[in-house]
Symmetry: D2
Subunit: 144 residues, 4 copies
């Protein structure tokens, strides 16, 4: 991650989420912070995000992971909205209680055509152990 500068502001990403990613609202997604080497995305968990067992539904965590990595990549390459996920693999590690989730995403490789990143998802009720971990590959359009 040698000295990459941030190429997308918090406000720019909020605008993309609000205007172009309606499912982000369904999942209660909100960008928390953009830093030089990682970003943090939050899911504000509500009743409609739960599943049997009193825990958060898997698709909510998958959507959070995907959005966190999308934000990370756009923060590195600029507002290239057409970057698309080609592959995502997620492991569910612990059942989170019905409370907000935080996804911390870091880059594994930022290439010209492919970007690969990982994210650990934490529950705000559980300090250090992640509740899920995902790795995703994004395809970056040639124009970018």
């Amino acid at each position: 991650m040698n000295g990459s500068t941030i190429k997308l502001s918090h406000a720019q990403f909020d605008e993309i989420m609000q205007e172009r990613l309606p499912f982000a609202d369904m999942l209660g997604l909100r960008l928390d912070s953009i830093a030089e080497d990682h970003i943090v995305m939050r899911s504000c968990v509500e009743q409609q995000h739960l599943r049997p067992g009193g825990t958060v539904a898997g698709p909510v965590m998958m959507g959070l992971a995907d959005a966190a990595i999308y934000a990370l990549i756009l923060s590195r390459i600029g507002p290239v909205e057409l970057a698309v996920t080609t592959n995502l693999s997620i492991n569910f590690l612990r059942k989170p209680e019905p409370a907000d989730l935080l996804a911390r995403a870091t880059m594994l490789k930022l290439g010209k055509r492919l970007a690969i990143a990982e994210t650990s998802i934490y529950s705000i009720t559980l300090d250090s152990d992640p509740v899920a971990h995902a790795v995703a590959t994004y395809s970056i359009p040639p124009a970018a």
Copy 2:
């Protein structure tokens, strides 16, 4: 899949989705059919499921894949709602047009503790080529 009988009716799964999986409604999920060796789940795609590029958002397809495999497993083991995904890996193959998606799920292995299944997702606008393909592992609680 040697002669396994169906242990969950279409109506039973609809009830689980409606009462216990509120995100299924957000994603427009609807069980299409349960057969001896596969199930089909539909996502009724609407405006809020789209993303930049005029295509369906990845999390919608991830949620559809997960729900299709959940339905498949419950159709084999009965209404064990506490079965949970431990791992899901998805590849996005083609950008689907904004139209309904169909996930066809089949079992790879149904064990006592773990079930592994795959699903291909098709767009109703595209005949034979899948738009996404996922494999997921579910953990089955000991009680089941």
Copy 3:
């Protein structure tokens, strides 16, 4: 897979394996057949491929899966040796007995830059149930 013609002969692939892929020999790999819509690769399992439990070691199956998909892709695009795996995800389903394995690989998507394929691995001692299943993405060099 609409009418794609085979662009690599059995003999050509054998030559690539023998001259350029020394690990193929370590894993006992041998191309069985190339067909219009799939290929079959065999691993001739010997003592050095086993692990505790009297079963075949995971890395042997991973190598077989990767080689089967490599052969499938080259059979579709010609002898582009520099095609490289970017991602591989494998599920181990059943413990194979110490006997030859057969990997049957089929294409999920053949694009210009990325090819995605899946393979089921079977033991010759077990008729219909796969012992492993893998999905891999290959990056195809621009020159190809």
Copy 4:
């Protein structure tokens, strides 16, 4: 990783590798170090581990990743040789030069039935950027 003690010595793992995992020798695997929160496994890369492009063959890195995670798990639960991989997902990030590789593995979750861990693989010729990253799930037998 709250204060887990190491339950397998370096010598014990070497013995398991030498006596029970013959493919470890084929892949040039050698345990480098076991620490409280991670282990490091080396692959001594030789001519037979290369592939077209002058780089290390994918199956060598897959075998290294799998063995590193196996060693990590055994270092936490003791010499439970029958622990088996149920799922492994690997991303190849950069083409390593023909030189030794080091896999650093850390635990994501150590449960009673399943353990999930990740590993980054580094080339000794490249300081900080990983050449591959893998996540694997192991199933731990009930007896353990």
